[in-house]
């Protein structure tokens, strides 16, 4: 089957050899062939694939055959290690020490420079409390400046808008000048998208680089890009001093193999990954975790981080303590659902949990809808009913159902759910040494 995800493919391969007691030349060959096709379909560069497959083969046929692990485990480890090596060893962020730190965004048309500029501005502002200036340097595409201004407004960051009749080089200079005078910490210069072979426009970037000497020049790479991405990155890197890659649109189902080959063939580190349309959806790129994700081992660390960031800890503690005291009511259930919703679409979360890749889009969608329904039902109850669901009898059920446009059957379902949760809490409480979660006060 074509176009299974890399994880699916690897999982299928590993399943195949799971029962076999040793790696033989023949079962290895089949697997390596699959790996090769999988990587090529993931748009990993042809040469990188060749190298990768050979390395895996060499290692697998070598000394490790005698170790105690099963051949399947062994191969996973080898593939994982090699993949990780391919992705680069460490994660790295933009260094914001210089004041102002000047960052230039470059790339082909439509890779997401303007959106990512906004995302970076938000990240620096939110996480590092930096004063950020966005500079609208795309004077070619109609309304590109408008776009940056709107993005700037959304993240509440000032945008330098000089209109589209001044040269981008001048605009960049003015941006840095303004930042110096007005005490900005970071300047992000958005530039117009351009083909790597467009001599005049590439020279323009070079001129900007020469005149403001940016601390960071980030190349945007679309996760969907094909085999040619490596050539594009090379050309940009020959003309400019690229300091990092930002991979955009990684929330799609493209496997982003191209950006991985760029890292391998040019040595430029991937610093950030765009994972959604909202301006929060930018993550630091973790090469090691990415290797895990490709292998279908889930990305638990990312999940934990995401949960920590979004869940209001106080709120969570309150709920947990209430649960433990057996005072868990429908208000708490509602609060829990809200917390859960903050984490974003269920699909994104599930993908991060190992062993859960098989849930279909439709099922996830259903679960999401179900949660919405549950919330609507609880909203249709009176405060007293929420505090003490036991008073909800038939006529109340009918009223609630009418209030949210559903049937009393649906209301029953929510009440059943609530009871089940309560039961679970009690069981959990009995298991805890002193009736409390460890680490909770």
């Amino acid at each position: 089957m074509a176009f299974e995800s890399l994880s699916d493919r690897f999982q299928a391969i590993l399943k195949k050899i799971k029962g076999q007691s040793r790696l033989t030349e023949s079962n290895m060959d089949e697997m390596l062939k699959e790996i090769r096709v999988a990587l090529l379909e993931a748009d990993v560069n042809f040469k990188v694939v060749k190298e990768f497959v050979n390395q895996v083969k060499e290692k697998a046929l070598g000394q490790e055959v005698l170790t105690k692990v099963s051949p399947g485990q062994m191969l996973v480890k080898i593939v994982h290690d090699e993949l990780e090596a391919l992705l680069g060893a460490d994660q790295c962020e933009v260094n914001l020490k210089a004041r102002p730190t000047v960052i230039m965004m470059v790339g082909l048309q439509g890779t997401g420079k303007t959106t990512t500029s906004g995302k970076l501005a938000k990240l620096f502002k939110k996480k590092f409390a930096k004063k950020v200036l966005l500079v609208a340097g795309d004077v070619y595409r109609p309304a590109a400046i408008d776009q940056l201004c709107q993005v700037g407004k959304q993240v509440d960051v000032e945008v330098l808008n000089m209109g589209d009749s001044i040269s981008p080089v001048e605009i960049a200079k003015m941006g840095v000048e303004k930042a110096k005078n007005e005490g900005f910490d970071v300047v992000i210069i958005d530039t117009a998208g351009r083909l790597s072979i467009d001599e005049a426009l590439m020279q323009e970037l070079k001129d900007i680089e020469d005149s403001v000497s940016p601390h960071e020049t980030l190349l945007l790479v679309d996760a969907m890009s094909g085999q040619d991405a490596v050539n594009v990155a090379r050309t940009f890197n020959e003309r400019l001093k690229l300091s990092g890659i930002v991979m955009s649109k990684l929330d799609g189902d493209a496997r982003g193999g191209s950006a991985l080959s760029i890292k391998h063939l040019t040595g430029i580190p991937i610093k950030y990954a765009g994972v959604g349309e909202k301006l929060d959806d930018l993550e630091i790129f973790h090469p090691d975790r990415m290797a895990d994700r490709i292998l279908g081992m889930g990305d638990v660390v990312s999940l934990v981080e995401k949960v920590q960031e979004e869940i209001d800890e106080k709120e969570a503690k309150k709920t947990v303590n209430k649960m433990m005291n057996g005072k868990f009511d429908l208000n708490d259930m509602l609060a829990q659902l809200e917390q859960f919703n903050k984490l974003g679409p269920l699909s994104g979360l599930l993908k991060l949990i190992p062993g859960m890749p098989k849930i279909s889009e439709e099922d996830q969608e259903k679960a999401q809808k179900q949660m919405k329904k549950t919330k609507a039902i609880i909203y249709s109850m009176t405060p007293r009913e929420r505090q003490d669901p036991s008073i909800i009898k038939n006529s109340r059920k009918l009223r609630i159902a009418a209030g949210c446009g559903m049937t009393s059957y649906d209301v029953n379902r929510v009440l059943d759910q609530y009871e089940q949760m309560q039961k679970m809490m009690k069981q959990m409480k009995n298991r805890m040494p002193n009736g409390r979660f460890p680490g909770m006060r």
């Binding site: 439509g110 997401g112 776009q147 790597s196 969907m224 040619d228």
Partner: protein, 326 residues
């Protein structure tokens, strides 16, 4: 006479402006692809397994896709054996034959231009993932049909991306055609509705409806697209008459998944490939055709308003693989 020589004769005889544009637009793509083929042919005196391996590499690096590449190379290999060909240069010609055949086999004769309805507006819906050049392509298409004397209405259905409305508005002013816009975050289906109502009132020939870029694995966004389509056909029966999927030429194998997903929810009638003037080879054209049978209708060969050409397979393969010696 082989298909290749036939092609060569046909194209060389047809010295048109379009050919020049193709050759110029595909210049960077070709330089890579055909020079690789040529260097391959000159390095090998005899055709063997290693030769075919390298052939495979060249095709895969053009984003033709693994499956199709294996098919094409296999077919070439077989024919080489049957005909007893040992000359590497002859094999290159054979390869072009096979690429051509695999594309044409997939279907009927294709009319690239939009077919206009006899009366009432013809509706074109434009869809695609983020950043492929939907809005620019719409402007180019509008220009094309305005130049042909058609009355065109633009509908700015991208209410999501910042600046998208303004972008299309600028184009409508430059082209001097009417436009229906929406507010930020307005339901795009309601903008489409307004567009259809306006189209019927003012008697335009062609309505081009822009949509926000969306990744094809986002179910709710794809549902939104189906809704837009439903709303359109409720207002104007059998509309949208055409749905163009815009694909970036630099796209890798994900292009096939894009085509598949968009086809499922909007019945795509044609593909427009953008940014073909870069170094990408657009091999995805062949892969999409092979897997899904959707024809490419137009290709974007540059940033100027006139740089949109009807897709012509002869020209494409000729421009890509052979071109003119200079």
């Amino acid at each position: 006479m082989g298909l290749f020589s036939f092609l060569k004769e046909k194209i060389v005889g047809k010295s048109t402006k379009q050919k020049d544009k193709y050759v110029a637009g595909l210049d960077k793509s070709r330089r890579n692809f055909s020079s690789k083929l040529k260097s391959l042919a000159s390095r090998y005196h005899k055709v063997d397994e290693a030769y075919f391996d390298e052939l495979e590499e060249i095709l895969i690096e053009a984003d033709v896709g693994v499956n199709l590449t294996l098919d094409i190379v296999e077919a070439t290999k077989n024919e080489t054996r049957i005909k007893g060909i040992t000359e590497p240069t002859q094999i290159n010609e054979l390869l072009v034959d096979k690429m051509f055949v695999s594309y044409v086999q997939q279907g009927e004769n294709i009319i690239n231009e939009i077919t206009f309805k006899e009366n009432g507006p013809t509706v074109l819906l434009v869809v695609g993932v983020n950043g492929v050049g939907k809005t620019t392509t719409i402007a180019k298409l509008a220009k094309r049909y305005i130049d042909k004397g058609k009355k065109v209405l633009l509908v700015a259905g991208d209410t999501f991306r910042a600046g998208a409305q303004e972008q299309l508005k600028v184009w409508s002013e430059r082209l001097g055609c009417e436009i229906v816009t929406g507010k930020e975050n307005q339901d795009p289906a309601s903008v489409a509705y307004d567009g259809m109502v306006k189209a019927k009132q003012s008697g335009v020939d062609l309505v081009i409806c822009d949509t926000a870029g969306r990744l094809q694995n986002k179910l709710n966004l794809m549902n939104e697209l189906s809704k837009i389509k439903r709303v359109i056909s409720k207002e104007i029966p059998d509309a949208p008459h055409e749905t163009f999927l815009i694909i970036d030429a630099t796209t890798g194998q994900n292009g096939v998944l894009q085509a598949k997903a968009f086809k499922e929810c909007t019945e795509v009638t044609g593909v427009v490939i953008t940014k073909m003037d870069g170094t990408s080879k657009g091999g995805i054209i062949l892969a999409i055709r092979d897997e899904l049978g959707i024809p490419v209708r137009f290709i974007g060969l540059g940033e100027k308003m006139d740089d949109l050409e009807e897709f012509d397979l002869d020209q494409y393969l000729y421009g890509l693989c052979l071109g003119e010696e200079k």
